[in-house]
């Protein structure tokens, strides 16, 4: 049972990393990303292939996963020169599906649907086999903590105010002299790097990755985490990620109670449940369980640094 809980906690960690990234991109800056699975897969495959095919040590391979996310994120964010909102959603979704297609079809490289087996694990020879899962959980927790600190730092910094201004009205931010494109690219790339890092951590944890894991569905789980928690709020999404995992895993036990439910039916029910819950939450609590703290106008100080647009508070009821 402890082993099960430790592994669940590790998976929640991956979700949290992805959710923190999405919150940077969408919650704070208003850039939609439905290609989460693509950046996650890119990080996973980069790190895995570098260590399996080229024999690179993990301290090089795993950060390379994050760098791959960073580069891809920069390229995708360049599209935001022309696109906003819903159309960026379609393009990022396309990016995610493209990565999955490559992983599926180029099996000389990725082993395709059979899955890529990865032997290398970080610190595997330092710790005993019994304590290893806990060590890995610690590693993931450290990564989450680091990502959280970076995200919180950005949120509180003048940069964070600029980002919220861009989210509320990019034209106003532009008029105030902010380089909207540069800010968007920076934030999107940082978020994508988080996703790549999450992918690398995931790959060396499960030690077998295949394209089926990186379905667009992953994006919905992460969106759910951020929306439930409260977009723009880094604490809320941690709660959201935990809740999504609780639903995904909790429904597993339904099979023990109701015997006509086989694994396939259960997984269908799980997705239906997540979908309904997402819609209900958007209906009833559009700002999430923990709404973003309202930005307060603090007189001369905020006005002096110029990044506080007249009203950065009202996101209205839109998420």
């Amino acid at each position: 049972m402890t082993a099960y809980l430790v592994s669940m906690a590790t998976f929640v960690g991956f979700f949290m990393l992805l959710a923190l990234a999405l919150n940077l991109q969408w919650g704070m800056t208003g850039m939609v990303n439905f290609g989460i699975a693509g950046f996650y897969a890119l990080g996973a495959y980069t790190s895995a292939l570098l260590s399996v095919k080229l024999g690179l040590p993990l301290w090089l391979a795993m950060p390379a996963g994050a760098v791959a996310g960073l580069l891809a994120g920069t390229l995708v964010a360049l599209l935001s020169i022309r696109l906003s909102g819903d159309f960026l959603a379609i393009v990022t979704l396309g990016f995610g599906e493209f990565v999955r297609l490559v992983a599926l079809n180029e099996d000389w490289l990725t082993e395709g649907p059979r899955g890529l087996k990865i032997d290398a694990r970080p610190f595997a020879d330092v710790f005993s086999r019994e304590s290893y899962p806990l060590v890995y959980l610690g590693l993931v927790a450290a990564a989450v903590a680091l990502a959280f600190l970076v995200a919180e730092r950005i949120r509180r910094a003048p940069l964070g105010r600029t980002l919220r201004a861009i989210r509320e009205d990019a034209v106003v931010a532009e008029v105030l002299g902010k380089n909207v494109l540069l800010h968007r690219i920076t934030v999107f790339a940082i978020g994508a790097a988080f996703m790549g890092a999450a992918g690398a951590l995931y790959a060396h944890y499960v030690q077998n990755i295949s394209p089926q894991v990186f379905m667009p569905m992953v994006a919905i789980f992460i969106w759910m985490s951020v929306i439930v928690g409260g977009p723009g709020n880094n604490w809320g999404l941690m709660l959201g990620a935990g809740l999504v995992m609780a639903i995904l895993e909790g429904t597993r036990f339904l099979g023990d109670v109701i015997d006509w439910l086989d694994a396939e039916k259960l997984s269908a029910i799980r997705v239906i449940l997540i979908g309904i819950l997402l819609i209900v939450i958007i209906r009833l609590r559009p700002r999430g369980v923990m709404p973003e703290p309202r930005f307060r106008y603090r007189g001369s100080r905020a006005a002096a640094d110029g990044s506080s647009v007249n009203d950065v508070t009202g996101r209205g009821d839109t998420t």
Partner: protein, 287 residues
């Protein structure tokens, strides 16, 4: 070889044209990209399957059942899910529509599992003209798509409701002020689109196979066609469908066919960069 690919491309276009028209119509009055179309199409295919293989109706009867059933489902999805969220940010509605498509797809999975199915039909030998193979069903598909394009054109251009739909798409507030019952018009667009999605499900089930991911796999080419033509413009959607349909088939000449799905995305990405309002759309005026 190339002539055969062109014919295949046209058949492909005929399959995505009606839903692209429907998607464009929906977008024009609701102003958000509705990803639930994948779920609607899958629902249409399985409704027809249930009526055909289950209840033993002939295919044309099953198609009518599917169109009526999908219309009802689409209308209900508006009443229950989208109506209370009217006026929300398009991204919120987009997330909701993706959630909805997942719900529909998995309800289908729950009932029918992920097995691949087909309609209960006798096998037919394809016709041959000058070395080009085309089946009876593909000919019917082409004729149907042309008929739907023409019907949509006539409805939009010459009927009172069609005029009201165009007015609502143009400027909902002004239309409302001028006495257009915009709420009823929006409902009419949902119902009409629903029938087209249901029909697409049937046609896709004929041309491809019936499985829960049927609609999702068509979603991207449909979006590509609608965006290529200028989303919100039903005529653009017809043109976009032809271009995307042929482009998808012709890439087989240079790329492995497994990447066919990628073509739609590629078209979308390039197009949104160079001409975001599409071929026939109006550039959006930014305030």
């Amino acid at each position: 070889m190339t002539a055969q690919l062109l014919v295949n491309g046209l058949v492909n276009a005929a399959l995505i044209a009606p839903p692209a028209i429907a998607l464009s119509l929906l977008f024009s009055v609701l102003r958000f990209p509705n990803f639930a179309i994948g779920g609607y199409i899958t629902a249409g295919a399985f409704l027809a399957y249930a009526a055909n293989a289950g209840a033993g109706l002939p295919l044309w009867g099953a198609a009518l059942v599917a169109m009526a059933g999908t219309s009802l489902l689409v209308w209900l999805s508006d009443e229950i899910v989208f109506k209370p969220l009217r006026g929300q940010d398009p991204v919120t509605l987009l997330v909701v529509s993706i959630a909805l498509t997942l719900i529909i797809e998995h309800v289908v999975r729950l009932i029918y599992s992920a097995d691949v199915r087909g309609f209960d039909l006798p096998l037919q030998r394809p016709h041959r003209f000058a070395g080009i193979r085309i089946t009876e069903e593909q000919l019917e598909l082409l004729a149907l798509a042309a008929a739907i394009a023409a019907l949509t054109h006539l409805l939009l251009r010459y009927t009172r409701t069609g005029r009201a739909v165009r007015a609502t798409a143009d400027n909902p507030v002004l239309a409302e002020v001028r006495g257009v019952p915009t709420r009823r018009i929006v409902t009419a667009v949902w119902v009409y689109s629903g029938a087209l999605f249901g029909l697409t499900g049937v046609l896709a089930g004929l041309d491809l196979v019936i499985e829960p991911l049927l609609g999702w796999n068509l979603t991207i080419p449909i979006f590509a066609a609608a965006i290529l033509g200028g989303i919100g413009s039903p005529y653009g959607a017809m043109l976009g469908a032809v271009l995307v349909g042929i482009a998808e088939e012709l890439t087989v000449l240079v790329l492995p066919s497994t990447y066919k799905v990628g073509v739609g995305f590629f078209i979308i990405a390039v197009l949104l960069l160079v001409r975001p309002h599409g071929l026939l759309g109006q550039p959006e005026i930014r305030k």
